[in-house]
């Protein structure tokens, strides 16, 4: 217990000094995707539900917060709140539909529903189709703190990330989180113990959707852009890969996985379609011989030694 709080402390310290060492823009991207992957992991890693449509929360929230900041002229915190709540709304409706099916069907249903949201975003006037919402103003936090400085913006993103991460940590270690894990391990047994499994699943799904929305909304404000890429099925696949690579069902795995994928996309962006090919191969390798992911593998080895 002590060791892990030391680890979290060291990580937080590293993130606090990071913008003086690395590029704030890159770090913000990393944090947004890390939060996105952590939110996704809450569902796959701790409830055992594979959603193949998480881009709908991320992307739609990005559109809503972008629209709120640019057209309605809301301050950034309200714009992010609006985006996050829109993801909650989509989460309630799609989750209500999706939890009716289990396992592999759940994955296909979420993928299909996300594609529906994608087509809605293609057609809706406020998303500007192929162009996306561009030059979204960052504005001033609470009308006081000017966010145009990248480092200031970074600390806001960091605060949101830490908040989201702490919430996920809290959920996982709560009695509610234990019920989720029992559903993951043995759903019929959880049901026979008297838990309303569908309600637990739906709540986990909505929480995950909300946090994914927070990540998307934050990204839209920090980068000033919301496009169809954020809501496409490729984005849903990317977040699956981040979580799988880092380690499903580990707390820090998705953060590491997001870091690796974002860094890879950054450094290999000149290679065009090879990035897609490498990502596909990573999927194959992870599934065939590396199912615990990096953090999961480390934890497994450490436990073996003890």
């Amino acid at each position: 217990m002590k060791k892990s709080s030391l680890l979290y402390g060291a990580l937080l310290l590293a993130l606090l000094v990071a913008p003086f060492v690395g590029y704030p823009m890159f770090l913000m991207k990393l944090l947004c995707f890390a939060l996105f992957a952590c939110a996704f992991n809450l569902l796959i890693g701790y409830t055992g539900l594979l959603s193949f449509g998480h881009a709908m929360f991320f992307g739609f929230a990005a559109y809503v917060s972008g629209h709120a900041a640019k057209v309605w002229g809301l301050t950034p915190e309200l714009a992010i709140l609006a985006g996050t709540l829109s993801a909650t709304g989509i989460g309630i409706v799609t989750g209500w539909l999706a939890v009716r099916r289990q396992g592999i069907y759940f994955a296909m249903v979420t993928l299909a529903l996300a594609q529906m949201i994608y087509f809605i975003c293609v057609q809706a006037p406020f998303t500007y189709a192929e162009d996306g919402i561009q030059s979204i103003p960052r504005g001033s936090l609470f009308g006081l703190l000017d966010l145009h400085n990248d480092r200031v913006m970074y600390y806001v993103v960091l605060a949101l990330f830490v908040g989201g991460f702490a919430l996920i940590y809290r959920i996982i270690h709560s009695p509610f989180g234990q019920v989720l894990k029992s559903i993951r391990e043995n759903e019929p047994r959880a049901l026979s113990l008297g838990y309303n499994v569908d309600r637990y699943k739906l709540l986990a799904y909505v929480l995950s959707a909300t946090l994914a929305g927070l990540a998307g909304a934050t990204k839209a404000i920090a980068f000033g852009i919301a496009t169809l890429t954020d809501v496409s099925w490729q984005m849903s696949g990317e977040v699956v890969l981040m979580t799988l690579l880092g380690g499903m069902g580990t707390i820090l795995g998705p953060v590491l996985g997001a870091g690796i994928i974002v860094a890879m996309q950054n450094y290999l962006s000149g290679l065009g379609s090879w990035v897609t090919i490498i990502m596909g191969l990573t999927f194959v390798v992870c599934v065939l011989m590396f199912r615990r992911g990096i953090v999961g593998e480390i934890e497994h080895r450490l436990l073996k030694k003890l």
Binding site: L50, F52, L97, A98, R100, R101, Q102, G103, I104, Y105, A107, M108, V109, L111, A112, L113, Q115, M116, F119, I120, V122, Q123, W233, G237, V240, L244, G272, S273, W274, V275, T276, I277, M279, G280, L281, T282, F283, V284, C286, V287, L288, R291
Partner: protein, 295 residues
């Protein structure tokens, strides 16, 4: 009577025909998915990518080797099936004991690889595939013009679908397959080579996708993205029909193609989402799917 609800009959019939052609592709792809799922318990995400590969094989055969449509109709599915054998033997085989989700993740990765390779070498704009001379022109049916090639696609895919249904439901080979789905160990005990059967089932399923790809090549542009565009709709079709029934997946595919065609005439705004809307309604009314037998 040249109008129905203010829509000219010619236009209505034209859209219905387009819808039916789309429905044929949905039916062939969801049929392949159902066959594979029945035997391997894997939802083959690479199905759309292999459909795209089938179309590209036809294009490559024509443009690099001068092999015409008729031979491509035979050779391209065989090529795709060969890829399927390699995939099954080297990768999917190791996932039998694991959660079904890993099969979906692995084949998703394969889909990305295939799509990435073709996008790298052929770009994403799409290549035209010339219609074979025999199929140029239309049949004049009096109330509508029926392009010959569309009629051919509909006839062939319905024949292929019914043939597959017949083999699986009515022949001895099909009986082995169905028994292998229910209880592989028992079937093994009777001296039947189940692993070989599994490999061939996967090869056949993706071969169907390859065949659909060749038939789609002259209608749509041959593009690396054609697979991912169609596979998600086919997934929705599979959720609507349920993967338990062969005939069910064929009928659902055809019906949804027609419905899509109709919405293009009467309410075009939702034509790209109508399949998903129907899926949502089916989930509310009959969560196991129209033909599903899930617990």
């Amino acid at each position: 009577m040249s109008e129905i609800f203010g829509v000219p009959i010619q236009a209505l019939m034209g859209q219905l025909m387009l819808g039916l052609v789309n429905g044929c592709f949905y039916a062939m792809l969801s049929l392949g998915l159902a066959v594979i799922f029945g035997m391997l318990n894997i939802v083959n995400f690479a199905h759309g990518a292999l459909y795209m590969v089938g179309a590209f094989f036809a294009w490559m055969l024509l443009n690099y080797a001068g092999v015409n449509y008729w031979f491509a109709l035979l050779l391209a599915p065989i090529g795709v099936a060969a890829i399927g054998i390699v995939i099954e033997k080297t990768m999917l085989r190791w996932l039998h004991q694991l959660d079904h989700l890993y099969g979906l993740l692995l084949t998703f990765g394969l889909a990305l690889v295939l799509e990435g390779i073709f996008r790298e070498f052929y770009g994403s704009s799409g290549l035209p595939y010339e219609l074979p001379a025999l199929f140029r022109g239309v049949f004049d049916l009096g109330f509508m013009m029926l392009p010959k090639y569309r009629a051919w696609v509909v006839v062939v895919s319905i024949v292929v679908c019914l043939f597959t249904w017949y083999v699986i439901e009515k022949t001895r080979l099909g009986a082995y397959l169905r028994a292998g789905t229910e209880n592989p160990n028992m079937v093994k005990a009777f001296g039947i080579n189940v692993p070989l059967m599994v490999t061939l089932t996967y090869a056949f399923g993706v071969g169907l996708a390859g065949l659909a790809g060749v038939m789609a090549a002259p209608i749509y542009q041959v593009s690396p993205l054609m697979g991912s565009n169609i596979i998600i709709v086919v997934f929705a079709v599979v959720v609507i029909g349920g993967m338990g029934s062969i005939l069910g997946s064929i009928l659902t595919g055809l019906a949804l193609g027609l419905i899509e065609g109709l919405t293009k005439v009467f309410y075009a705004e939702i034509s790209s989402t109508v399949v998903f809307i129907i899926m949502a309604i089916v989930l509310l009314v009959r969560p196991a799917g129209l033909f599903g037998r899930e617990k």
